[in-house]
């Protein structure tokens, strides 16, 4: 294969199969934004430091800027544009209710990250601030939310309201 060859593959994004023909250098973030017209996921640092690009792949939150789109052939990608995810919808409503943003640039990443975080909590994943590793599931607390969301930076420092919004959405019955 010549170095500049285009690779053809498909992704499932928000429930829809999407065909792509891309330079293999294209990150998942650039594929979403520049080729699939899903500009909700944001490019902040492009180096995995800010979390603005966070999406869910097969239900797990990752930095879409630090992975190549071609590596995700066959994977299911969920972005902030998803309309059929109850947790994501609850988080969107809670962010509005609690004013969990100022400029809004980090918000799609915060919300996608929180979807993943709530699933990790439910699966019993511990965190750096979880006191007893042996217990099946840590108790949700502001400290746990802050630690588990530390990969999402908010330049406007709306953190108190982000924590409130996530805490509320995590307890919303579904």
């Amino acid at each position: 294969m010549a170095l500049t060859d285009v690779v053809e593959f498909s992704l499932k994004v928000n429930g829809q199969a999407r065909e792509l023909a891309l330079d293999p250098r294209t990150t998942l973030l650039d594929a979403l934004r520049e080729h699939l017209e899903l500009t909700g996921s944001k490019k902040g640092c492009d180096h995995g430091q800010c979390g603005a690009c966070t999406v869910l792949v097969n239900g797990t939150r990752i930095n879409s800027c630090l992975t190549l789109a071609v590596m995700h052939e066959g994977d299911e990608v969920t972005t902030i544009e998803a309309t059929d995810d109850a947790v994501l919808s609850a988080l969107q409503a809670a962010f509005v209710e609690h004013d969990g943003f100022q400029c809004g640039y980090c918000t799609p990443g915060q919300i996608c990250s929180a979807v993943g975080m709530i699933a990790e909590f439910a699966a019993g994943m511990p965190s750096h601030v979880t006191e007893a590793l042996e217990q099946d599931r840590a108790a949700m607390s502001d400290l746990e939310i802050r630690e588990r969301m530390s990969g999402n930076i908010c330049r406007c420092a709306a953190y108190p309201n982000i924590v409130r919004a996530i805490a509320q959405a995590a307890e919303t019955p579904r």
């Binding site: 293999p24 250098r25 190549l68 052939e73 994943m125 511990p126 590793l133």
Partner: protein
């Protein structure tokens, strides 16, 4: 990013052979460090061999009562694994102290071992760096070196190893298993896996071209209390200034390994079995040299050792 050819390997042998055939091939797993470096053209592979679908993603007990961790096991999965939480708490704690949740979900066991230093000058392609461009010099020696190493350095490089996970694995006596392109395998104790910079700081480990890490084996869990203490500039999502992984028995005798201090996770076997924190610090810090900005790491390490042993004693 420089152009490269991409292939998805179906199994370890195919991956190893594919990487051996190209002059400058790289395996890609999580990609969280490699792609970061490729965007800055610090890494410029001609070929990427995607190993995300080769298997090697299981965690299983060994016949000896230890644990075999597949190369592709994600950091988050390993940290949450019931056996690791119960028997190798220091490893779970070290993993959870590293990076962010998103990165841990993607980063792999083998990739964590092979991540590169976060030395500012290694990342800044306008500055000299013997690790990035051998023979160009070391800008960190006379520059900002708050995060740099105080042990195991050379006049050519003072970069520190960034991993938390590898510090715990070094303490636990982990062995790295590999597959070579000719089909042969190796078992490399982690103690012998990393190279000190000397006059070849670009050579960080003993792996050969095309050699693939297939897993990491931990010996049976040690007796004693396991602790990981990390000191950093922020409460979360920051590299260690100093970290200590410790196993402390009922008599207060300890075994320790350190992060943030050296070009590799640092172990001083001569300090094993000691219980006096100052004697341990004297043994561990023998030969430690600060470079101005990181002088504080030497007294800080002494205090962290004291705090870890004190807290273990009072528990």
């Amino acid at each position: 990013m420089k152009p490269f050819s991409y292939m998805r390997a179906a199994g370890p042998a195919q991956a190893s052979a594919a990487a051996a055939n190209e002059q400058d091939a790289k395996f890609i797993a999580g990609g969280t460090n490699l792609l970061d470096l490729m965007k800055l053209q610090i890494e410029t592979p001609d070929r990427l061999v995607d190993i995300n679908h080769v298997g090697l993603d299981g965690v299983a007990e060994t016949q000896e009562g230890g644990l075999r961790i597949g190369a592709l096991v994600r950091n988050a999965v390993l940290a949450a694994h019931p056996s690791v939480r119960r028997k190798y708490a220091v490893l779970s704690r070290a993993l959870l102290a590293g990076a962010s949740a998103q990165l841990r979900n993607r980063a792999t066991t083998a990739g964590n071992l092979l991540q590169r230093t976060r030395c500012y000058y290694f990342y800044d392609t306008t500055k000299p760096c013997n690790k990035r461009e051998p023979g160009s010099g070391c800008a960190a020696l006379g520059g900002f070196n708050r995060i740099h190493a105080v042990l195991g350095t050379s006049e050519h490089c003072i970069a520190a190893h960034p991993s938390d996970m590898a510090v715990a694995m070094m303490l636990l006596g982990a062995v790295v298993e590999t597959l070579r392109p000719d089909g042969g395998t190796r078992e490399i104790p982690l103690e012998q896996f990393y190279k000190l910079p000397g006059d070849t700081p670009e050579r960080e480990h003993v792996l050969e071209r095309g050699e693939l890490i297939t897993g990491v084996v931990l010996p049976p869990p040690p007796d004693g209390r396991q602790v990981y203490r990390k000191v950093r500039d922020r409460a979360s999502y920051a590299f260690a200034l100093v970290s200590v992984a410790a196993i402390i028995d009922a008599d207060g005798k300890s075994r320790l390994a350190f992060g943030g201090l050296a070009p590799k996770p640092w172990r001083v076997a001569g300090a094993d079995g000691m219980s006096d924190p100052d004697a341990i610090a004297d043994a561990v810090l023998a030969g430690a040299v600060g470079h101005g900005g990181n002088d504080f790491k030497i007294p800080l390490t002494r205090r962290v050792i004291r705090a870890v042993l004190r807290d273990a004693g009072s528990a």
